[in-house]
Symmetry: C2
Subunit: 515 residues, 2 copies
């Protein structure tokens, strides 16, 4: 079979009327496309033979056009590599858009209109973002130890599913996700998180971020007040802000969210966002009393509870705690989880457990949002769980993170002395180091970044004025040597830093649990 | 190395105080978990050895607890398959949530609150959905000919990228997408769609549906009026409805969107959604005059133009047409495309080309939505394009769809006679067959579904009252034999159908282009 031409053929319409030379039309088309940047420097153009065949022409006008374009420096040829757009275009010819000359015909000059964006997006932009996700220095957050991921096994499962998957993994899937995967998730959550649900209540999402955003879209509207833990998770601030929610900061203390204070500040909130297993970022577990208070309030007030159970897999030597969802008898809890940090972030798989009466609505909104999640990784993950690799991987990583957590704590205690108060970490993949109150944690962070340290400032997590400056230090991908080096560098920096003095007048030393 | 236990270990906290027998605590925990449905029938429970080791106990209390659970019928054992939750639980014990007894202590009885969802989601639910995506009969829409996908090549590229990808394909990626993929897309669009952009303006999305939804989120707010082609694309109705937009139907005619009518109905619309290359669903191309009118109006009014260039790869024997974006010199156009129908839907890869001044905002909103797209398929698709497989695949499919389109048209003309007016298809992967005005196309669709035909009713595409009933017939995945059988079945059905009589009084025969 004759090999089909591999190059892309441009959308050229030719006027075949007499008196309108074809070579001229071709020349004009390419010249405008190149001059306006539509065809980019170095980009390959079709061969004269392919172009002539596609346009049903003799090769002669095509060759003529190309010769002129080559002579004038718009095109370049390379032996064995065909013809390309020249890497530097004749400057004086960079011109207007191909359509512009048409537009000037008969048009009065016109005032140009404004370029408005939505109010909601402006609100999102004003929040501290998740820029910290993409950093690559020591102590970066949200990243697991990728070196320790069982890539051999994973690759094998991917290859198997690509081979055997067939059309079921290629066509449109259910907005709720791949059924066997949803069953595996329901079983897993029932077993380890005391979540009570039927697989029909499980929606597979693109990470927990999508779970947050879909929940906001279904349940909340512009101006709806929502309690947010203060300090709390910046990603949640952003997700809720996209639908214009009014974020009400509610302080946390040693027992987690201060429910009484929430009720005082906003008794009729429409929802509350909590991280009860392992508060983000401070790390405490929500006490049984507070859990009951919250469930009772939500039931009376008709409010939704959005439970984000991140990092629940990793608890070091302390008593395990079940989900809040498992205690909820009024179906108020929307339970969110993710595989991003247990597996790897680019997997983009998380889950929602949805009260039965809301499943249909969540499904409709998901369809309107991006229809469904890609099937391949769902199928691979199902095998990974069912064949026991996932449980083994979690156990192995739990051991690794326990070591790294201890190493970081020891190192900080040894090097920092009074400079940093370590908030005792007994779970998860990060800890918080509080700084003396005259420090400016954003400035410290920025300076640390110059030395290859990606410590997130604690103030990023506050909606209002932070109680106390601090750094959030991840230890997921940071090995022992990097931990020690990183802490030493940070310590030297803090001891010598002029920006340790806050621009504003010295603050009182607050208990970091107060508002 | 000792093989790690593969089963999941439950979050049981034990009270080790004297007088509180451990076996009793274990029994209680499992009994409640099983009775409340948290552990599901047939679900495996850990072995007594693993459980004892995890909880740091002697095996004896664990065995005692399990023996009682087995005796009472909560657990079952199978040789070689361990112990599982019984497939049928003792009925009289199905009880309240584990936390409920706690909640009753000291609580006054309370009135339960309401269960409110957002106004926006109610609006989305009221629209005709995209239920048609998941059907599997002849003439189903939006699905390519999956049998003809070059799976061998694709699998090879997936395997290569899994092997060589490493950590860059596992960690957090850019909200805008994988850089080499964005470059390949920019080059492709410049070459074949006359789109002018730098790769920095390209955002990779989860299909075009996400492109629509993100655009709506950035640019539009509740109540913002947006022109929608009438009839138009239901997926767009849904995406815009999620942010509470006011959808203004604007009729289409032989030249595409009737811009003058749009200006008459809503001169200050914030945006317009169009499918200028191949109107969805009617198929006409937007004329040059209308394009200019639209660009001029948008520039004066400060409105955004959301151009959805679906199916532009497939034009059969007619003059190719460039994108509207290529004619736009005021950076008003947000250009949306997808690989779903050229490749396969579960790929979940589409793209947005964003005006430069909006790139940052789109990126922020994307981060708040689901952060970024999974990396593997982006890398594989980049290779697929760069190595020429994509261009070859498109050409091959173009030939296939040309054949299928002709076959369907011939078959319809032969079988239907005056029963169906075929709207001439010269592009894309579907055509419209108009029915006599006394037919009720939703009823026809539902009946056809019973015979394995998935013809979408044209009324699905209308926001207001449809001009004329019809069926939208896809021929992507339907081969010649299925086409002939399907048309014959449909023809028989239409000739004999009692529901051809509309419930309401007979309508006048409208020109399908009028409003």
């Amino acid at each position: 079979m004759k090999r089909l031409s591999a190059s892309f053929l441009p959308p050229i319409s030719l006027d075949r009327a007499k008196g309108h030379p074809v070579y001229r039309q071709l020349y004009d088309w390419f010249q405008r496309a190149i001059a306006s940047g539509q065809l980019r420097p170095g980009q390959r153009v079709p061969s004269t033979r392919a172009l002539a065949a596609e346009l049903n022409l003799s090769r002669i006008p095509v060759l003529t056009a190309f010769e002129q374009l080559l002579a004038e420096g718009y095109l370049e040829t390379f032996h064995g590599a065909g013809t390309c757009v020249a890497s530097s275009i004749p400057q004086e010819t960079i011109g207007p858009a191909p359509g512009q000359s048409l537009r000037k015909i008969g048009q009065a000059s016109q005032r140009k209109g404004t370029r408005k964006i939505s109010r909601g997006s402006r609100a999102v932009k004003s929040l501290a973002g998740q820029a910290w996700l993409k950093l690559s220095g020591a102590f970066r957050m949200h990243l697991p130890a990728l070196d320790h991921f069982p890539m051999e096994i994973w690759s094998r499962l991917v290859a198997r599913n690509i081979r055997k998957g067939g059309k079921s993994l290629m066509a449109y899937g259910d907005a709720m996700g791949y059924a066997p995967f949803r069953e595996a998730i329901a079983e897993y959550l029932g077993a380890v998180r005391a979540v009570r649900c039927d697989p029909s209540q499980v929606m597979v999402t693109t990470g927990s971020q999508q779970g947050l955003q879909i929940s906001a879209s279904v349940l909340l509207g512009p101006g709806a007040p929502v309690w947010m833990e203060e300090p709390g998770y910046p990603g949640a601030h952003q997700a809720f802000a996209t639908v214009g929610v009014r974020l009400i900061p509610v302080p946390v203390d040693g027992e987690g969210l201060n429910v009484a204070e929430g009720i005082r500040r906003c008794p009729k909130a429409r929802a509350v966002y909590i991280t009860p297993s392992h508060q983000y970022p401070m790390g405490m577990t929500m006490s049984a009393t507070r859990r009951m208070q919250l469930l009772n309030w939500a039931s009376r007030a008709g409010a939704w509870i959005i439970e984000d159970d991140y990092d629940s897999e990793y608890r070091f030597g302390i008593r395990p705690i079940g989900s809040l969802q498992g205690l909820d008898s009024d179906a108020r809890v929307i339970y969110i989880g993710t595989f991003s940090k247990v597996m790897f972030p680019a997997l983009r798989l998380g889950y929602l457990v949805i009260p039965e009466d809301l499943v249909r609505m969540f499904s409709v909104i998901r369809e309107a949002t991006d229809i469904f999640s890609s099937m391949l990784y769902q199928a691979v993950m199902t095998d990974f769980i069912k064949e026991g690799h996932f449980a083994r991987h979690v156990r192995r990583m739990r051991g690794l993170y326990t070591e790294r957590c201890r190493a970081l704590e020891e190192s900080l205690r040894a090097e920092m002395g009074r400079l940093m108060e370590v908030v005792s970490a007994d779970a998860g993949m990060h800890l918080v180091g509080l700084l003396p109150s005259h420090f400016h944690d954003v400035a410290v962070s920025q300076k640390a970044a110059q030395s290859g340290i990606s410590a997130m400032p604690l103030s990023n997590c506050y909606l209002k004025r932070p109680s106390r400056p601090g750094l959030v230090l991840g230890y997921g991908p940071t090995d022992r040597a990097q931990i020690q080096d990183g802490v030493r560098t940070l310590s030297k920096m803090l001891r010598s830093a002029p920006e340790s003095t806050a621009p504003e007048s010295a603050r009182h030393i607050h208990n970091h649990f107060s508002d």
